[in-house]
């Protein structure tokens, strides 16, 4: 048998340009899923400061001077963290909306309009994200 040529990366050359809705949805869902699980780990790590905080004095807790409250407050005062939170919201909202789309697809509902529902997820994600910016940024300055 003649050896045959493996095109490696060439295979995917120019493929993305023809990606249709379903493919983008798949990629975005993957991405957002990974971000979310990543966040879940960090989130729990940050919240764990609540464990040492529980050992603090009553007064400190009442005054909000425990490790936990301090950590959160100082994090929340950083603009970067606020922006990241907006990003997280966008990611979560997209994952939820597209996740709903996927659940419907699994139930065999709306397979015909799967591209439309993807675009709808995108637009809604955008809208919700923009609408929530004031709430998220409030008090950061």
């Amino acid at each position: 048998m003649s050896q045959s040529y493996n095109r490696g990366l060439i295979e995917d050359f120019s493929r993305w340009r023809e990606f249709e809705a379903g493919m983008w949805a798949w990629i975005f869902h993957k991405f957002t899923g990974w971000v979310l699980i990543g966040y879940l780990f960090t989130h729990i790590a940050v919240l764990s400061t609540g464990i040492p905080a529980a050992g603090a004095s009553e007064a400190a807790i009442m005054a909000g001077e425990d490790v936990y409250t301090q950590t959160i407050v100082s994090l929340e005062s950083l603009l970067l963290v606020r922006l990241l939170e907006v990003g997280l919201l966008a990611v979560a909202v997209f994952h939820m909306l597209n996740g709903t789309r996927l659940l419907l697809v699994d139930l065999g509902v709306g397979l015909e309009s799967q591209n439309k529902s993807f675009y709808a997820s995108l637009i809604l994600t955008g809208a919700i994200t923009v609408a929530s910016v004031p709430t998220f940024i409030a008090g950061a300055f």
Binding site: G33, A53, M62, A92
Partner: protein, 123 residues
């Protein structure tokens, strides 16, 4: 001829759990976001407020369930994604158990935190 063995018997089950947890998360995550960013603002979070919420048994159990389902959903999702990209053999077994371990750590740590807030002595 493609092999037709099945070491993945529970494929259908895992698939179903992924969907069921997704449906559950859909509701709880929305609630979570709403409560902690819109009703209460994130920058107003304090140990006091958190523990006040956690002391309610219903909220506590919801959050534990939230943690467990999210962990399962997220980790199983990652595992599936890797398997779908062609992860096989020893590598796959190693990653599988690593993920299980990570999940365990996550859940334990999460429960401990919740306990701390709720004033349950176990942390």
């Amino acid at each position: 001829m493609a092999e037709r063995y099945s070491s993945f018997e529970s494929g259908g089950r895992m698939w179903l759990f992924q969907r069921v947890t997704a449906a559950f998360l859909l509701v709880v995550l929305a609630f979570h976001f709403f409560l902690l960013h819109f009703v209460h603002h994130a920058d107003e979070v304090s140990f006091l407020a958190s523990s006040a919420r956690m002391e309610q048994i219903s909220y506590y159990s919801l959050m534990i369930l939230f943690l467990v389902t999210a962990t399962f959903h997220g980790v199983n999702g990652v595992y599936n994604a890797l398997v779908n990209q062609g992860l096989t053999g020893t590598k796959r077994t190693v990653i599988k158990w690593t993920l299980v371990a990570a999940s365990a750590v996550l859940v334990v740590q999460g429960v401990r935190t919740a306990n701390a807030w709720a004033g349950i002595g176990l942390y």
